[in-house]
Amino acid sequence: MDLLPDAEQEQIADSVAAFLRAQAPAARLLERDRPHASAERGLWPRYAALGWFGMGLAEDLGGVGYGPAEEALLYREIGRTLASPNILAARLAAEVAGRTGQPDVGQSLLAGDITAAVANPTGRCRLGPRCSGRFQVLDADPDGRVVAWNDDGVAVLQLNQFKIVRSIPSLDAGVSLAVGELEDATPSAWISAQEAPLPAFAMVMVAAMACGVAEAAAASALDYVKFRQQFGRPIGSFQAIKHHCANMALANEAAWAQTVMATLSLDDDTATRNFETAAAKFVSTEAANLCAALNVQLHGGLGYAAECDAHLYVKRARLLEQLGGARRAHRDKLMSFPMTA
C-alpha cells in the first residue's frame, strides 16, 4: 500500500511534464480564436514516439506494458497543460483494435499515423454492436477514428458514419466541436464493459486530466498572489486570499488521492471499480471547477481577459466535467461505499 509514485514513475511524470511544458504549454491556446488543428495534429507523431498511446497497453497489443498508475500520471500532466483529450481516444481505440483482432489499425493508432477523436454523447444514447445518439466530436479528423463510450462499453467509429456533422463554436476553444448523430450505426469495433473495464478506465483518466487542470490553475493562482502587490504588500498575505489558496490545496489533495485510489482499483471487482472511479470523477471535476474559477477571481480584471490563460482552465474544466457524464449521471454508482481493504 503506497499511493505515491516510485522513482521510475516519478521519472515518467517528469519527462512527460518537461515535454509538454516545452512543446504544448497551456499558453499556446491563447494565440488563437479557433484552435489550429494542424498544430495540435503535428504533435501526434511525437506523442507516439514517446509511447504515450501505448503506455498502458500490454506488450502483445504493441504497448509499452506499463499500467494505469503510469497512465494516470501521464493524463494528469496532459490536463496540466491542456493537451488534447483525444490522446485518451487514441489510447482507447488502440486497445479496442488490439482486442478485436485489428492489429494493423492498433499499430497505426499507436504510431500516431491515424488519430482518434472523443465523441461525447449529449443525451440518451445507445452504444453496442449498433450505435445511436447525438454526439459532440472533439477536433474531428475525417481520416481518423471516433471513439464513444458509456457505461456499457467503448465503440470505435468513423466520422462519416455520423449524420449531419457540423462544426459548432466551442466553449473550450482549445478543441473544436463537431456535432453529429448516429442512427443505428455499426461501429468498426466494439468492446463491452464486461469484456474490459474500459469505460471505468476512461472515467479515471478524465479524472486524472481534471486533477492536472485543477493543480495547474491553483499553481497559477498561487504564483500570482505571491507576486501581485496591492496595499503595499503581496495579496497572498491577505487572509481571505490565503484561505482561497488553502481551499484549492484541500480540493486538490482530495482529488488526486481519490484518483490514485480509483486508478489502482481498476483491477478490483465491478462494484468497487464503479464506485471508486465515479467518486474520482466527482471530486476531481469539482476541484478543477473550483480552482479554475478561483484562479480567475484572484487574477481580478486580468483574469477575465482573453489574453490571460486563467479562462483556459475554466473552459477545459467544464469540458472534462461533461465528458462521460457529469455528477447526476453517476449518482447511483455512489450509493454504496465498498470500503475496500
Binding site: D33, N120, P121, T122, G123, R124, Q136, I168, P169, S170, L171, D172, L177, V179, Q229, Q230, F231, G232, I235, F238, A240, I241, A293, V296, Q297, G300, G301, G303, Y304, A305, A306, E307, A310, H311, V314, R318, L319, Q322, A326, R327, R328, A329, R331
Partner: protein, 388 residues
C-alpha cells in the same frame, strides 16, 4: 411598512408598461464593436423622446424629477419587458449622472446631463490602474496643474466601453506628497482629446468589453474637475455607491427572468438518465426552487435599499449588500444552468449559446466594481464597525 404603491404610482407603472409594449427594441442587441454604441444610444434617444429618460433626474436638466420609487418602477418594468441592458450607457446613467447631480457645477450639469439623457454620449470610468485595482487609492496616473488646465499622464485599465466612450470619469493623483487617499482629483476627460490612446482588450467571453487607456500629457480644463482638486476620493466613493443603487434593479430582473427561463427549459428537456424531464429530477427542482427564493430575496433587498434611499441624502455602505448578493447569486444561477444543460453548455451556437455566454460573463460580477473580497471588507468595516 407597505409594499403597495399609491394609485398614482400604479398608474405610472401602467403607463410605463404600455409605452414599453410599443417602443421597447425588438431587434437583438449587437454583441461587440461600435454597433453596441449605436444601438444603446438609439434606444436611449427613443426613451428621451418618449419622456422616460432620467425618471428621477432633475427636470431642469431634462429629467422627469420624479421619486426614487418611480425610478424603480421604470427599471422594474424594463426588466419585466426584457429591454436591453444599460450596456455602454451604464456609467453615464448610473455613475456619472448621479455624481454630477450631487457634486457637479452648474455648468457641468447644464452641459452633460441633457446630453446623457438625450442619448448623445457614452461615458466610461477611469479608476482602475495596472497597480491599483482593489487598492484604488494606490493609483499613480498623474495630473499636474498647468495654468487653468490639468496635464494628465499615465495609464488606466479594465475600463469598460472606453473604446466607445466620448467622456470619462477620470481619477488622477494631483498631489503626490499627500497621504494615499488625499491628493486625488475626479475630472471629466474628453476621450477625443489629443494624447488619449485606447486599446480594447478581448475578454474570456470572446468579445471586447474593456480597455487599456493611455494618457500622454492630456490637457483637461480645470473647469472639468468635479468636487475639489485633491478632493477626488470622496467623489469617487459617491460614484461607486451609486453603482450599487437602482441600476441593480435591471440586473436583478434579468436574473429572475433567467431562473424562470431555466425552469421552463428544464421542464422541456428530456432527462438523459430517466424517463421524465430534467425538472422532474428533485435535485434540479430543489435547486431551482432555492434560486427562485433567492432572486425574490434579492428583489426584496433592492426594495429595502430604495426604502432607505427615500430617507437618505446619499447611499450608505448598506448598498454593498444587494450588490454582493446579486454577484454571487448570478454565479449560482449559472451553476444551476450547467446542471440543467449538461453537455449542451459546451456548444456556443443555437439555444444554448445564451447560457454559455452568460456563464462566462458572470465571472465578471464578482470582480468588476469591487471584488467580492473587497465588498466583504467594506461591509465588515464600514457597516459592522470591525477594526481595519
Amino acid at each position: 411598512m407597505d409594499h403597495q404603491f399609491t394609485e398614482d404610482d400604479r398608474r405610472f407603472r401602467q403607463d410605463v408598461r404600455a409605452w414599453l409594449a410599443d417602443n421597447a427594441p425588438t431587434e437583438p442587441r449587437p454583441d461587440d464593436g461600435p454597433a453596441i454604441r449605436a444601438f444603446d444610444l438609439a434606444w436611449q434617444k427613443r426613451q428621451y423622446a418618449g419622456g422616460w429618460a432620467g425618471v428621477s433626474w432633475p427636470s431642469e436638466y431634462g429629467g422627469r424629477g420624479l421619486s426614487l420609487i418611480r425610478q424603480m418602477i421604470w427599471f422594474e418594468e424594463c426588466g419585466r419587458r426584457g429591454t436591453p441592458p444599460l450596456g455602454s450607457l451604464s456609467v453615464a446613467l448610473n455613475h456619472a449622472g448621479p455624481t454630477l447631480i450631487m457634486l457637479g457645477t452648474e455648468a457641468q450639469k447644464a452641459f452633460h446631463l441633457p446630453r446623457i439623457l438625450r442619448g448623445e454620449d457614452v461615458w466610461c470610468q477611469g479608476f482602475s490602474e495596472p497597480g491599483a485595482g482593489s487598492d484604488l487609492a494606490g493609483l499613480r496616473t498623474r495630473g499636474v496643474i498647468d495654468g487653468d488646465h490639468l496635464l494628465v499622464s499615465g495609464q488606466k485599465i479594465w475600463t469598460s466601453h472606453a473604446h466607445l466612450a466620448r467622456f470619462q470619469e477620470l481619477l488622477v493623483r494631483t498631489d503626490p506628497d499627500a497621504p494615499r487617499h488625499a491628493g486625488l482629483t475626479w475630472i471629466i476627460c474628453d476621450m477625443t482629446a489629443p494624447g488619449v490612446t485606447v486599446r480594447p482588450i478581448r475578454t474570456m467571453v470572446g468579445s471586447h468589453h474593456y480597455c487599456e487607456v493611455f494618457y500622454d500629457n492630456v490637457r483637461i480644463p480645470l473647469t472639468h474637475v468635479v468636487g475639489e482638486v485633491n478632493g477626488g476620493w470622496s467623489v469617487a466613493m459617491a460614484t461607486l455607491s451609486f453603482e450599487r443603487g437602482p441600476g441593480l434593479i435591471t440586473s436583478q430582473m434579468a436574473l429572475a427572468r433567467q431562473v424562470a427561463d431555466l425552469i421552463a427549459l428544464a421542464g422541456g428537456l428530456p432527462d438523459p438518465m430517466g424517463e421524465g424531464t430534467m425538472l422532474q429530477d428533485d435535485a434540479v427542482r430543489g435547486r431551482l426552487a432555492q434560486l427562485n427564493a433567492e432572486v425574490a430575496a434579492l428583489r426584496s433587498m433592492t426594495r429595502m435599499a430604495v426604502s432607505r434611499g427615500l430617507r437618505q441624502a446619499a447611499p450608505g455602505a448598506e448598498t454593498s449588500l444587494p450588490a454582493l448578493y446579486y454577484a454571487e447569486l448570478a454565479q449560482r444561477v449559472q451553476q444551476a444552468a450547467i446542471e440543467v444543460l449538461g453537455p449542451a453548455i459546451l456548444e456556443r451556437e443555437g439555444w444554448s449559446e445564451a447560457w454559455t455566454h452568460e456563464y462566462l460573463r458572470a465571472f465578471m460580477d464578482t470582480i468588476a466594481g469591487g471584488a467580492s473580497e473587497i465588498r466583504r471588507n467594506i461591509i465588515a468595516e464600514r457597516l459592522l464597525g470591525l477594526p481595519r
